[in-house]
């Protein structure tokens, strides 16, 4: 098993930690809210979310921002638990694209 893409503690060359403040976008706040709500409803647990992030494609994982990973792992867990299916999600996204245009 290669070392997981999430497990990079102690690797050399990481550089200094970026400690600058950054504003959250509305969608990031919403991502957090959905995550909290699904947890409060007992739909998923933090450990499942972590596992979903660990199982992601490594290149995709590295390309994503923090909350993009959250959204991707929420999607994976909801599909795994058969609460939503991929077609439903893609259909809804297509609706949003039509309504608001692609981001």
């Amino acid at each position: 098993m290669p070392r997981g893409h999430h497990d990079v503690g102690g690797l050399p060359g990481a550089g200094p930690i970026d400690q600058s403040q950054h504003e959250l976008s509305d969608w990031e706040i919403l991502a957090d809210a959905i995550n909290q709500a699904l947890g409060a409803k007992g739909v998923k647990r933090t450990d499942e979310m972590r596992r979903a992030r660990e199982e992601m494609d490594s290149a995709a994982y590295r390309d994503m921002s923090y909350y993009e990973r959250w959204i991707a792992s929420i999607e994976a867990i909801l599909i795994e638990k058969k609460i939503l299916d991929k077609q439903q999600i893609d259909r809804k996204l297509a609706e949003f694209d039509t309504k608001w245009g692609r981001p």
Partner: protein, 101 residues
């Protein structure tokens, strides 16, 4: 009345010398790569918790596992460094640890 039911079930107490298992298997592993195979000392016993390596797959997390704060010498983990006197503290579950005599 007695606190016995809440006694941690793990093998170790504060001060015990332990070695982290060098395990690698599929699944959700809660012990970071850089600390596997290293030797340290139990700093603190937190108590028993549902096993996150089981919860990660939607299972019940039972049996509970004892979680410890384990202290390592900085040079033992990162080699020569200007922080030679520092301790590296890592939270590690009982099933990842074996005794060092």
């Amino acid at each position: 009345m007695g606190p016995a039911v809440n006694e941690p079930t793990g093998k170790f107490k504060a001060g015990d010398r332990v070695k982290v298992k060098f395990e690698d298997r599929p699944g959700h592993l809660r012990t970071p790569w850089y600390i596997r195979g290293k030797t340290g000392r139990i700093e603190r016993v937190y108590g028993d918790f549902l096993n996150p390596e089981s919860l990660a797959f939607g299972r019940d997390g039972l049996p509970k596992r004892t979680l410890y704060s384990v202290a390592f010498r900085h040079p033992d983990i990162f080699g020569k460094s200007p922080h030679a006197g520092d301790k590296v503290l890592v939270d590690i579950y009982d099933h990842w640890l074996e005794p060092m005599l």
